[in-house]
Symmetry: C2
Subunit: 136 residues, 2 copies
Amino acid sequence: MPRDAVITYSIKELASDFMVTARTLRHYEEQGLLSPGRQGQNRVYTIKDRARLSWILRGKRVGFSLTEIGDMLDLYNLGDGRETQVAVTKKLCRDRIDALQRQMKDIKDTIEELEGFCEEVDSLVKKKNGEWIIDG
Amino acid sequence: MPRDAVITYSIKELASDFMVTARTLRHYEEQGLLSPGRQGQNRVYTIKDRARLSWILRGKRVGFSLTEIGDMLDLYNLGDGRETQVAVTKKLCRDRIDALQRQMKDIKDTIEELEGFCEEVDSLVKKKNGEWIIDG
DNA sequence: TTTCGAATTGACGTTAACGTCAACGTTAAG
DNA sequence: CTTAACGTTGACGTTAACGTCAATTCGAAA
């Protein structure tokens, strides 16, 4: 019987929802990336924490370090009415975007090279068909 | 007065050409990614080593580990007339490509989110112009 | 009440990709 | 000959991002 109708999650729930371990969530908290509430001694995660975690994990997938992700999350806390360093913020954003675009190009090139390599293998197989040994 | 007209590079030359340290090249050799010739005790790198190094570094840029890069380089040593596991090879290639394409999507999404964020900041600045403090 | 499951806080272990340092050999110049 | 620049091989240090384990605590179920 919930006192308030606020949806929350235990550490294990949130962890398994995102396919990470509880240790990971605690680690993110140690690094200041998450700051869930407490219910006594236990951590309680809200929908906002879910959103943050989602961001963190995508940041990771695209190659950011936790520190960088922390910086980016801080940027999201702009607009809170306090005086903020907008110029710095925008520069960080732009730098990120530039880096990501360079990374995309690198990946594109690599994909093309890999595809070319696949074709090479294909033609080799067609040419020397029968001479190749394909086993485990 | 070169005995042979083969272009070679010292470890420092190759390193500075690619903006890495000599230690890095030795490390790659320890991991079996490079295997330069020797001139007495010293390493001599050829144009082929340059090509391999170039591959290695792009692999790194797109987020591969050295071990993975080693595997990929091994794939390039196909077609040497020996019996080879073509099916396995092609699967590895395809897996790589798939992973890279997923990574591209992630990056694209992130770029879009960052751009959206930038615009948010812009509009905030326009709206509350004057109230923001932009200093160092 | 005992026991179980799920949580907590330390605190040390691990892997990857080098950095860094020590101790040493080899030319080439002054 | 001495110094300098460049090379070599160990071998230990470092950072990041957790893994892993021990010792506890707490609330609920049997």
